[in-house]
């Protein structure tokens, strides 16, 4: 196949590209420039999209011996990921930008452009398995598994994707990179959100959405217990940084239960009020077999790196319902619910949907 390897400048995508070459593919490396001004994004080794990352990707491509280009995807990235991120927070939801980037950039804009240019597939360094059966499975390295952020991909997108790293642990990938002479072998992992340079999500949102003072209301008493500078700065399940004016009547800690953009209200309450047993989600995508007609038993994961919980999942038109076997906390609108079927060869992604608010 003629494949396009998306190369971030990190160790994973470098090894993935090298393995694609070993597998006999005709590989071309591409670094996605996602920042309109590379200097404004995180500098140093932790992030992505810096000039240094672009250089690291280029050097990896040199060592692997493949052509290398930089594709400017900044405008699309800003519209589909950054602007969406801000709009989702403004709407009281908690977006996952990595998932959105996969859905809209890497496996959409980039993949579509690649196909139009004559490539058959896109190769990435995601830690997930995608075998000949077409099923997306968790990586053997559960700590690094990225199947959650890939579960938004449709059948068509998966059919044009190659994930060469799913059978390896991160440690194995690093060792292989060193063996191959790739300078990024010891490069630290990226964390957090690549387009928020200092990691200060609240400050990033405040800069774009401005101060919007409102009330913090206790769900138990209905009383106003504090004020906030912008409801967008809060996430369901959050405990720190509430700055309540007075302690709760029961003396117990308070957590964010919900955000209501219409009234600009943040509602807080005791921990047990966070318990959620039923999840409703929109825009389901089902790739782990035929779409089920009735309820099925499976496991669900409700946020990146979150716990999994057994559940009964049913699809109803454009809605997914999940009945959790035990209550979960910190279930936030805007995150994905991903359904898995446990499997000895790696838990299989059945489908996903966006948790409704």
């Amino acid at each position: 196949m003629r494949v396009l390897a998306a190369m971030s400048g990190g160790v994973d995508s470098a090894v993935a590209a090298a393995r694609a070459v070993d597998a006999g593919h005709d590989v071309t490396g591409v670094h996605l420039a996602l920042s309109r001004n590379p200097q404004t994004y995180r500098t140093g080794a932790r992030g992505c999209c810096t000039l240094e990352d672009s250089r690291d990707a280029r050097r990896a491509a040199d060592v692997i011996g493949i052509p290398f280009y930089v594709w400017d995807m900044a405008d699309r990235f800003h519209e589909d990921v950054v602007d969406d991120f801000v709009a989702e927070y403004a709407a009281g939801r908690t977006p996952n930008p990595c998932l959105r980037c996969n859905e809209k950039i890497k496996f959409a804009a980039v993949l579509d452009r690649a196909v139009a240019l004559g490539f058959d597939a896109v190769v990435t360094g995601h830690h997930a398995r995608l075998g000949a059966d077409g099923l997306l499975r968790r990586s053997v390295d559960l700590a690094k598994d990225q199947s959650y952020v890939l579960a938004v991909l449709t059948r068509e997108q998966l059919d044009r994707s190659v994930f060469p790293l799913g059978d390896s642990t991160k440690a194995q990938v690093r060792a292989e990179a060193a063996r191959r002479g790739l300078a990024v072998a010891e490069k630290p992992d990226s964390h957090d959100i690549c387009f928020i340079a200092d990691g200060d999500t609240r400050g990033f949102l405040a800069q774009r959405l401005g101060e919007q003072p409102g009330d913090v209301v206790d769900a138990t008493t209905g009383a106003v217990v504090g004020t906030h500078a912008g409801a967008y700065a809060y996430t369901v399940g959050q405990r720190r940084g509430l700055h309540l004016d007075r302690p709760a009547s029961d003396g117990r800690p308070r957590y964010v239960l919900s955000i209501t953009p219409k009234t600009n209200t943040v509602t807080v309450g005791p921990a047990e009020a966070l318990d959620v047993s039923q999840v409703r989600a929109n825009r389901p995508i089902w790739t782990g077999g035929p779409r089920p007609d009735g309820p099925i038993e499976c496991e669900v994961q409700l946020r990146a790196h979150g716990d999994v919980v057994p559940a009964t999942v049913a699809l109803d038109g454009d809605t997914l319902h999940a009945e959790l076997r035990r209550p979960m906390r910190g279930v936030a609108a805007g995150q994905a619910v991903v359904a898995y079927r446990p499997d000895p060869a790696g838990d299989i992604v059945l489908g996903s949907a966006t948790i409704a608010g």
Binding site: A33, R58, L117
Partner: protein, 391 residues
């Protein structure tokens, strides 16, 4: 490989490479006083005379530098500083809108850091400067202008400027005139004295010499404040140990390029005209950019409607055809060309452009390879164009 990017760099001439290797084996710092030093100095001075003779300058007007970017920076900043020192009111720098970044960014830097006031000369849709616009500029601001800088020929679209006329206008107002002639030397006749310019940039690797060596021809009566301080090797305007081997090879290449210019231009222009004609047949809606007549013989520059230049480049590269989007890069990302924008092109047309440049090793086979690959690449690039622009 079909190499159609000679304006980026062109292969060294055999005689220049031989001269380089032979000289690089010799020992001696040209500033040293002993026999080895004198030998190196002799090589440098012979080279200075050869460059001067080939380009219509006096030997004392040849300042060897580390290449085009240094020469441009030395001319723009050095003449600005010297003029401002002698007359504090002379703070205005006038440049054309289509200069190379080595000039444009130097001018912008003076604006941001040295309080320079910037005047920009527009171009027409063919990328051509109008001497009347310079006349108007100097009539309005002449007593405040430190220098005027305008390139001899454009590196992207190949348009050759009326340098003699522009220099004459500047001379009427007593304003020094610098020209970046990097793309022009060896391609069109260039004579420093006859052109009337005060300073002229030339570099080695665009004409068959090595990378990293060039010259600024600087009139004897034109003062320039140095960028680099040190041993004062070059007329006290430029310091740094002289690169004897590079200078010798550069001089050999300049001499050969100038001597062979007419024959070269005729041969390469014929190939280029054939390329243009066949590209037009293969892609009927292609737009041929630049001045159709007054242009560099090896330059063909097109916009391919509905395509993105970087997609076309990737597709052609995969078939062994080397060309250029002709625009500046930051982190490898192609920006829409300021040259095309200055010529009135919109963003989409600027981004749809590719530059093919022929040189002394070009052959009909190179053109054949391009014409064979182009229609398929254009078709694919058109299909791909939908996937990047914001919706």
């Amino acid at each position: 490989m079909a190499y159609l990017d000679h304006a980026a760099t062109t292969p060294m001439l055999d005689e220049a490479l031989a001269a380089y290797v032979a000289t690089a084996r010799e020992l001696g710092n040209a500033s040293a006083l002993h026999a080895a030093g004198r030998q190196a100095r002799r090589r440098v001075e012979e080279s200075r005379e050869r460059v001067a003779a080939a380009l219509g300058a006096r030997p004392s007007e040849v300042i060897f530098t580390g290449g085009g970017t240094e020469s441009d920076n030395l001319a723009v900043k050095g003449i600005f500083w010297a003029r401002r020192t002698s007359d504090a009111d002379r703070r205005r720098v006038v440049s054309s809108a289509v200069e190379h970044h080595a000039v444009l960014d130097a001018v912008d830097w003076l604006g941001e850091h040295e309080g320079a006031e910037i005047g920009s000369l527009p171009v027409d849709s063919a990328g051509r400067l109008d001497p009347a616009a310079l006349r108007t500029e100097l009539a309005a601001h002449g007593d405040r202008v430190a220098l005027v800088t305008a390139m001899w020929a454009n590196n992207e679209v190949g348009t050759v400027q009326p340098i003699g006329e522009l220099a004459a206008v500047a001379a009427e107002h007593g304003v020094p005139f610098h020209t970046d002639a990097i793309q022009a030397v060896g391609q069109v006749p260039v004579d420093f004295a006859a052109s009337g310019v005060s300073a002229l940039t030339v570099t080695g690797h665009k004409l068959g010499g090595p990378v990293g060596v060039g010259a600024l021809l600087l009139g004897r009566d034109v003062a320039a404040t140095p960028l680099l301080h040190g041993g004062g090797q070059e007329r006290d305007v430029r310091s740094g140990t002289l690169d004897t081997a590079g200078i010798v090879a550069f001089a050999v290449a300049v001499e050969a390029a100038v001597k062979g210019q007419q024959e070269y231009a005729a041969r390469v222009a014929e190939l280029r005209d054939d390329l243009v004609e066949r590209v037009r047949q293969a892609v009927p809606d292609v737009v041929y950019n630049g001045d159709p007549g007054d242009r560099l013989p090896g330059n063909a520059h097109f916009s391919f409607p509905g395509c993105e230049g970087d997609a076309l480049l990737l597709l052609l590269d995969a078939q062994g055809i080397a060309c250029s989007t002709g625009s500046a890069c930051s982190a490898g990302v192609a920006q829409p060309s300021h040259v095309l924008l200055a010529m009135g092109a919109d963003d989409a047309r600027a981004r749809s452009s590719l530059r093919f440049t022929l040189g002394h090793t070009s052959s009909r086979q190179d053109v054949d390879a391009l014409v064979a690959a182009l229609p398929g690449a254009v078709e694919r690039a058109r299909r791909a164009a939908a996937y990047r622009a914001p919706r």
